[in-house]
Symmetry: C2
Subunit: 421 residues, 2 copies
């Protein structure tokens, strides 16, 4: 199989509220696409030329535009952005909050199979079109709605609140200490977000004390043990990455040493109902074994271990999911995640930083965009283009993107070819 390169991309500022700006999805797609093409030196003439040879395609990740903006059939929307996209194959890929990864997976496979030379992958979601309660109900369709979503106020904080409870139970943790760990995780993500010029929360106040004071007016409980500070927030935004084949690199006389490649991938679905997940994992040392399996598949395909990974972007939809990810990545043994939280391992300056971007909690979580945003951040780090949030020695990075209550699991490893094993 041929290598798949990441040429670059773009992300919108996750602070923005597109409805308040009076801008629609076409404006969103135009901004992110124009920026990504500019950053990758791809002209509209080049797009037309590639399209004449049927060598370019578009992959859209989105969860629920049907609900938020009354729109389905999202593939052809780019034809409204610019006529250079007339004729370019395009489709939409969906797995709730992992929708961006489904689009990435399809695009990567198309390029490595030789079908296309250039893939424009865009993840996006406009969520600020409705109030948070209505939006919470929409998000309930990422669980089995009839059983886990319908009539439940904010179903997902409750599901990940259950993950918190089950984690405490499974590993016999001290609940106070566990909640303090979650507060540390929250605070790291907020702190990291302050370095990221596109982060939603970069001007927000958060402290470890605030994150650890739950059940008060400024930090209400939203799902079992979890409070507002444990949650990612409603976000509008889009992220775009441009992938290419080796043939494109050669034809355009680019230097393959300047661009990272996809080194590994993993994709697994777990039992849909949260109860079934917990029942299945009863005798497994991992609380979410299929999430761990996704990571293992990814390491195996890349011929790597956790020792080869310099940083992580993970799906901290809630602090309880990042806590779970620590052992899923192999940073600690399952049940010992607290070590990596307490000893600074996952800090920005730690040995295994998680979410230098701020993650979903700090950077923001426009649902369908997050997988692509993570991939873009892996690209930025390994090419030393992350600016204020650049970590040191970022050779290989791993991302973990979850859909629903980890019903869909996706993992990718990105790094410069130089560091390929």
């Amino acid at each position: 199989m041929k290598d798949v390169y990441i040429l670059g991309g773009a992300q919108t500022d996750f602070v923005r509220n597109w409805k308040k700006e009076g801008k629609n999805v076409i404006a969103l797609l135009k901004e992110v696409t124009d920026d990504a093409l500019k950053n990758t030196n791809i002209t509209k003439t080049k797009i037309k030329e590639l399209n004449t040879k049927n060598k370019i395609a578009i992959f859209i990740g989105n969860f629920a535009a049907e609900y938020y903006i009354n729109q389905g059939h999202l593939g052809p929307l780019l034809t409204e952005v610019n006529p250079c996209f007339y004729g370019v194959p395009s489709a939409r890929y969906e797995a709730a909050c992992a929708s961006g990864s489904v689009a990435l997976d399809a695009a990567i496979t198309k390029i490595k199979s030789g079908d296309y030379d250039l893939a424009i992958v865009i993840g996006w979601e406009l969520m600020k079109t409705v109030d948070s309660k209505v939006g919470g109900d929409f998000l309930g369709r990422a669980a089995i709605y009839e059983k886990e979503g319908k009539g439940v106020e904010f179903p997902f904080p409750k599901l990940f609140g259950r993950l918190a409870e089950e984690t405490v139970k499974k590993y016999n943790l001290d609940q106070e200490r566990y909640l303090k760990n979650l507060a540390t995780i929250s605070n790291i993500n907020y702190r990291n977000g302050k370095r990221n010029p596109n982060a939603q929360t970069r001007e927000w106040f958060m402290s470890e004390k605030q994150a650890n004071t739950r059940g008060v007016e400024t930090n209400e409980l939203v799902g079992g043990l979890l409070a507002i500070s444990d949650c990612s927030q409603v976000t509008d935004g889009a992220a775009c990455v441009v992938l290419s084949s080796e043939d494109y690199i050669k034809e355009e006389k680019l230097d393959s040493k300047d661009y990272p490649i996809i080194k590994g991938w993993g994709h697994r679905d777990a039992p849909y109902l949260f109860d079934n997940k917990i029942a299945e994992s009863k005798d497994n040392k991992y609380i979410l074994p299929w999430t761990r399996q996704t990571v293992e598949d990814c390491y195996q395909r890349a011929n790597m271990t956790v020792d080869d990974i310099d940083f992580f972007e993970t799906h901290d939809c809630f602090t309880s999911s990042e806590y779970m990810a620590i052992s899923a990545f192999g940073i600690t043994e399952p049940g010992k995640e607290y070590e990596a939280v307490e000893n600074g391992t996952i800090d920005f300056n730690g040995s295994k930083p998680i979410n230098p971007s701020g993650g979903l909690i700090g950077c923001g979580h426009p649902v369908g965009a997050s997988g692509v945003r993570m991939m873009l951040d892996l690209y930025k780090q390994v090419t030393n283009k992350a600016g204020e949030y650049q970590i040191k020695n970022a050779r290989n990075g791993m991302m973990l993107n979850l859909g629903g209550s980890a019903s869909t699991n996706y993992c990718f490893i990105v790094g410069m070819k130089l560091w390929k094993k």
Copy 2:
């Protein structure tokens, strides 16, 4: 690239109304999956074995379960059908009425790239959960809703009614003769549907006279020139095909001569707004040039021409789209489609039969299922398993699946390896 085989599949009876039966989507998925696995001799043990090696995946085509049954994140649903699907990678693929083809495309690419050995592709839609006006509004989200759908009663009959009007205008056709041609197309599909034991309309009355008497109580006008008889109808249903790699064929000691392969594919997106489509095609001899381009790409990849294709399954969402497809396939020159309608070329016993299954008008059109249903029918014909609707000398078949007003276009050629050029 490796060959991709079709092992078989299954379709639900498109007469059925699952809501009236009190059955939900899990029941639908269970029936079609159980039937498909039985037809392809794949046991649940085999699925688990393949999954241990991470060599099996599921691809779901669906347009709008969000609207019809309040459910998104459709990939993991099969874990509710049977625990043998725990851990199996799965995702949902969407391009309105071409959703099934997006799922097929992703599955085919995964197999030819060597990522998986077995792919279960399921297209489905439950549409009878709401009345036809509400459903018509849902379907408006397959167009740009704000411009072409919102506040319009039955937007799609109107859009394809406009295709009818533009066709008459572009080729200076006699309108009465054109409408008679559409009635012939309708009647062929209904007649073909009567031979298909899974067709929605197999017990319905239709005659050429009825189809050509528009604007009366029994055949009301629904979109410009088009009447009820020109439309596919609201349908519940699912279709499944099982694809495999050559490695699977060898490991299972199957005879590769018994199974057809995917010989070609095409995928193009056209300008989203219907007005933009017509404006762009003004100086082109084809009224929908990107639909034609999709067919041409498919022929080119298969190294075939129309002469090599023995039958077609096309997207007759409306009779005007099948009329357009005749020249897109290359059966006639554009503007001369009436010849193939009037001289019997596209009849069941003609030299280039279209829709021996009955197509969307005769067999039914559960939106997300149709692409997969077409692929299943190509499989049945080329393996001589189409029973009462088997056509003669079915060596190679082509399918054309459209999304929206042909904003998404997908084409595949299926045939036995023996007949590979």
